[in-house]
Amino acid sequence: MLNRRSVLRTALAASALGVWDAPVRFAFASVPTDRRLVVVILRGALDGLAAAPPHGDPDYKSVRGALALETTGTNALHNLDGQFGLHPSLVNMKAMWDAKELAVFHNIASPYRERSHFDAQNVLETGGVGPHALNDGWLNRALKPMGLADGEGALAIATSPPLLLSGGAKVSSWMPATLPQPDADFLGRVRALYGNDPVLLATLDSALDTEAKANSAMDDKLSTPAQYAETYANLSPLFTGAGKLLARDDGPRVAVLDVGGWDTHVNEGAGEGQLARRLHALDVALDAMKSALGPAWTKTAVVMATEFGRTVAPNGNGGTDHGTAGAAFLFGGAVKGGVVNAEWVGLKPSALKDGRDQPPRTDMRALFKGVLADHMRVARRDLDTAVFPDSADVRPATVLFAA
């Protein structure tokens, strides 16, 4: 197993300054779990009825109108269980379903009942019952009970961690480099300058450590701002990076990724179009992460959620407006999937919230708690108090995990 010292030696072996001969006392902390948890936040409110269409519902075609997906033909949705399906773009997720590695949650929502993106994201990330009630993220609060609060166990694929992963427990962050990495000689000089500054030295070492892991694991590093801009359309570099870092024995165990671009108020499209392209990019990136994880995929659970769902019926611009409940996804080699969890009550206006939105029947926190309990072995006591304060009445979803 690689430790930090050997990684640094590899990364900076060319240093002519000899600063690397100074004794390095810390060994890499042994990671307390080999399970991997990835949380993907889809910012902007994914249309759950497009991603996981309830095509077996008798009202599906009529209420969705132009947004209803085809059930036959070249661009047909993927049928899951006769009642629900997946968007035609989600080819790789369908493969996960077939391998019984994907579970779908429908009519799921955070406790937030208004329709502001920002407040809804705040609730989704803080794990509170209302917006701005808590200042740190539930995933950060869960690190300590997971035994990952030392700063090496959790990684945000971002420059600074999002609210979900921010808080008292130390976490790391990584992005594909946008500027050329300075040569080892120069980095050695900077490191020598930080000799009297323990904070900067430790931070730089952490960065070089992650960077070295990334470099040794990857050959598809971004190198120019233009490529960086392209990552909006092509999410794979970020997901591949996450997968390769998570795959390492000495790598992080928890990772967070953010994907925007779901706020489809105008010209959403059905089997083709704006949302179909975005879902395709996501599906390809998820598969890239799976490949990058390699054998670690079997130890991995990915939970993918959005701040709220969208209106059931299309609006006047061929899109959908802000709604309430929607869809969430749990997948990975550690997941016993092949199930759709939905307290389905139909799509008739009388069954909808305010006559327009999917009704919230499952609390999003139940999904998060279920994953943390069954996969990351966080005790119920911690889940009910520290991780999701005052949530004892929200029972963890019984999410089945492979042994």
Partner: protein, 460 residues
Amino acid sequence: MSLEGAIAANRFGLGARPGELEAAAAAPKAWLLRQLDSPVGEPQPIDNAEPFQPGGALVTELLEYRKERQMEKQPGSASVLAAPSPAKMFLKSRGHQYTREMAARFALGFATQTPFAERLVWFWSNHFTVSAINPDAITLVGAFEREAIRPNIGGKFEDLLLAATRHPAMQLYLNNAQSIGPDSSAGLKSGKGLNENLGRELMELHTLGVDGGYTQADVIALAKILTGWSLDRDGDATGFRFYPYRHEPGAIALRGRTYSGGEQAGITALKDLANDPSTARHIARKFASHFIADEPPAESVARLEKNFRDTGGDLKALAETVVNDPNAWKPHAAKMRSPVEYTTAAMRLLAWPQDGDREKQVKGVMAAARMMGEFPLAAPSPKGWPDEAGAWSGPDALLNRIEWAKELGARLPPNMDVTAVAEMGLGPLLTRETRAAIKASPNAGEAVALLVSSPEFQRR
């Protein structure tokens, strides 16, 4: 060159420009306080295009845009959809307008002769966070800082609080613009009601502090008191207007006091909150954290708190108090520069931008700050950008700084006397180690990169 002069320029200012250490050396405290007597800097467009619009005009544009969006949702609106209207132009240009405003703000930071005043602008602007991540507020956040913050950094806290709260950017950002008294005539008619966002943040973040003594009932009470405060629909210059028919009628109890009387109830409530002892404590601690250390000495916080109480929240007196605090002049630089502070200090050190495409150079620095994790008036939450080292010592962010420093060095003239630049910018704060590293560098570019990466330049 005096150590105190270097501390004045770096800790209280934005990093020394050429000649600044000399200017500050003789009487560093007087040099700082004098800056509060001159008019506060005004950001100017760097593209020589049209001047920035006042908040009121921007509100009018926003409301026009919304009206048009509503019309487009009506059946048979194809003709409206096709027409290139002013509102559509507004939608297209709102990111651009924000970038223009921020470019001007960065450029002012690079060049200002009153860097202590500018730092106070940045501090108060972050205290009263409005954020461009909210697309409704994006065009207004620049106007917010220009109109609500800049004129008020040396006045009374209660005036700053009132200006910030009433500004349309804050009304939009914290959703008070659409908050309606449930028992007001508008509320009874529409069935719409309160939005608590501003009421809560005003007490938690802007005044009392989270432990400052208020309950959920107080949050609701303050939200009710502030109903009717909203955006002006008739082109008022400020963009703010009070609508009596949306205001919750009757007397409302907030923290043991009763408020009534329409718009005046809100003004009185804000004054009372501004002058509450909890507010003095909250502001004192935040101010000391910004200028002295992430965990400031209790005696310094106590001095600021007393000054705030004794002067009724006189912000110039508060600035004088921190400038006169011995703990603020310790040679050890306790504060990590935030990305905006860091990139700004580097530009001041190198007296950039100089020749060539100024706009492009400023935008390059803006992209660098964003890459390091911070961008002005775009904080992720109403809490604002963090003010502790931990937030900026993210490993990826630090490596970004070093990479950027290297790129910066590579763009400088090869014959630059970097030791002279280092002495000019840091004076006695320059360490022996950094001086030696500069001397040992193979070229000027790498020497600058090491200087800008050095611990004494990362901190202030």
